[in-house]
């Protein structure tokens, strides 16, 4: 079977986020940066892409922002012992995309932090420092990490916090890996583009199939239209045409 059944074995929720752990019917390999398509086979009918925080053997942990019908279903209706279905993993490994392989700053925003948490766990020698930004500390009710930063407490956003660190430690930094909304990624690129750094952005878009065939999640890379699901989700930010997406 192509769809993999996953039984919900734990779930913690706060206002805007869920951390859910699933026991899959078989082991799958998910490299940091890759994503899975989740479906409950009923409504909403479309499968939805989610990054994973960790995947060890057949135990999968996902951090999900509650934003639409499917995520509200996961938050309110899916009970322990219930199952949903997964397919994947899809997309490319961050580690295979980055050039230097070491000395990176990670900047995550909201649930864009999920794949970076996974990356940091598996490739800790590649990371100098990580910054995971959330609007407030609500997330700490369900997940803790010493590198979580909260805009409302810090009185500045995660990009400023990361930039201040970079300025003091720039000789040791080869690159930035950013993961969040399109606008957040663009802001990271604008902040760091004038430095001699590799800058990578993990892009997020409404997806259809997850494998590149439906052409639902485009991004312009240099002069070509690429699919975020198949060709990304991590791209060299210097090749992204950030202006193409604007109206």
């Amino acid at each position: 079977m192509f769809l993999i059944k996953g039984i919900l074995i734990s779930k913690t929720v706060c206002k805007d986020y869920i951390v859910a752990k699933f026991e899959l019917e078989k082991e799958i390999n998910v490299e940091p940066g890759q994503f899975l398509m989740l479906t409950n086979k009923t409504e909403p009918v479309m499968a939805k892409p989610f990054s994973v925080v960790s995947c060890e053997k057949n135990i999968l942990t996902v951090l999900i922002r509650v934003i639409g019908r499917f995520t509200n279903f996961l938050k309110n209706d899916l009970m322990l012992g219930d199952h949903i279905y997964f397919r994947g993993s899809y997309g490319n490994s961050y580690y295979n995309t980055i050039i230097s392989k070491s000395n990176y700053i990670l900047i995550g925003a909201g649930c864009g932090s999920a794949p970076l948490l996974h990356f940091e766990k598996k490739y800790k020698d590649s990371v100098v420092k990580s910054f995971y930004g959330f609007r407030n500390d609500e997330i700490t009710k369900i997940m803790q990490n010493e590198n979580f930063f909260f805009d409302e407490i810090e009185k500045k956003n995660i990009i400023e916090t990361a930039y201040e660190y970079f300025v003091k430690n720039s000789e040791n930094i080869k690159g930035i890996i950013s993961s969040g909304t399109f606008n957040m990624n663009k802001a990271v690129f604008d902040k760091f583009k004038n430095f001699d750094l590799e800058i990578y952005c993990a892009l997020d878009e409404r997806m259809g199939c997850g494998v590149g065939m439906c052409k639902g999640c485009p991004i312009k890379i240099e002069k070509e239209i690429k699919m975020i699901c198949k060709d990304g989700p991590l791209f060299d930010a210097r090749k992204i045409d950030f202006n193409w997406n604007e109206v």
């Binding site: 499968a47 199939c209 439906c214 052409k215 485009p218």
Partner: protein
């Protein structure tokens, strides 16, 4: 389940519709083409099209709205680089083409005549750019001339694809008069979603094509209506098919072939599951449509 349609042998009535499965490179790494009755390419236009800006997809109850914008690399690249892969697939290939004028359609149809693909599907939703008019599929004179000229320039079987337009019966009649071999029903009806937090449409282009189970009753009704008016006209039916029972319903409505589109985005294995399920069902395909007429 083997049967013959327009002198072409089909192993079953399940085909993939144009669009969601692209030109097959990804889906046929997941499922075998050899289990399907056929495969329809993504619509190819004469010139390359980069497609619409995102968001291109938004979900709705029972389906999605898409606004891909016919992203494709153009007819020349398709002829030079796309054909070998498609010809290697063990299934019937239907090439979907979209033209912005009669001349574009005729050029592509006549060029495709030298390929081994048995069917061509005309996507008639593009505006008539040359004459500064709306969709070619809504202009009776241009439509008639386009079908007639296309038929004159090819030995391939030609299908015309329509949405559930209010004057569908009239436009199908024009196609029949022009010599069309069959009709594909239904193309996605227009849909829209508005973000209630911003008051703005979610899709970058505002409108898109609604597909998935939400449109199934509309598809069934239109196929039934057209089949009743044109009983001998072959119909490729599609619109929200996600299981074997849906296929049977479309066959009962008068479809000769049944296309799966959005279904492969939910689960790429759906077409194979349907074929397997159909093979277990014990009934005759021969009189399904006539049952619906009683």
């Amino acid at each position: 389940m083997n049967f013959n349609l327009l002198d072409i042998e089909f192993r079953n009535p399940v085909i993939l519709s144009s669009g969601p499965a692209g030109n097959g490179e990804e889906i046929f790494k997941i499922i075998p083409a050899s289990k399907l009755g056929g495969f329809t390419t993504k619509t190819i236009t004469l010139e390359p099209k980069e497609g619409n800006k995102p968001p291109r997809i938004v979900d709705v109850y029972g389906g999605i709205i898409n606004s891909i914008g016919l992203q494709n690399e153009g007819f020349e690249k398709f002829m030079n680089q796309g054909i070998d892969f498609l010809e290697s697939l063990d299934t019937n290939i239907i090439v979907s083409i979209g033209g912005y004028s009669k001349e574009e359609f005729v050029y592509m149809v006549s060029t495709l005549n030298k390929t081994n693909f048995p069917f061509i599907e005309l996507n008639l939703s593009c505006p008539n750019v040359k004459e500064g008019k709306g969709p070619i599929g809504q202009d009776k004179e241009v439509l008639y001339n386009t079908i007639k000229e296309c038929k004159k320039n090819t030995s391939k079987k030609i299908f015309a694809k329509f949405g559930p337009e209010s004057n569908l019966d009239e436009m199908v009649k024009v196609c029949v008069d022009g010599g069309i071999d069959g009709i594909t029903l239904i193309n996605c009806p227009q849909g829209m979603r508005i973000d209630i937090n911003t008051g703005k449409p979610i899709l970058m282009r505002g409108f898109g094509g609604l597909s998935g189970p939400a449109i199934k009753p509309i598809a069934v009704a239109n196929i039934f209506k057209i089949k009743k008016l044109f009983p001998k006209l072959p119909v490729i039916g599609m619109g929200g098919i996600i299981n074997a029972d849906d296929v049977i319903e479309f066959l009962m409505a008068g479809s000769n072939l049944t296309g799966i589109g959005t279904g492969v985005m939910i689960d790429p294995e759906i077409p194979i599951k349907i074929v397997d399920e159909l093979s277990f069902k014990k009934f005759s395909y021969d009189n399904l449509y006539s049952k619906a007429l009683k």
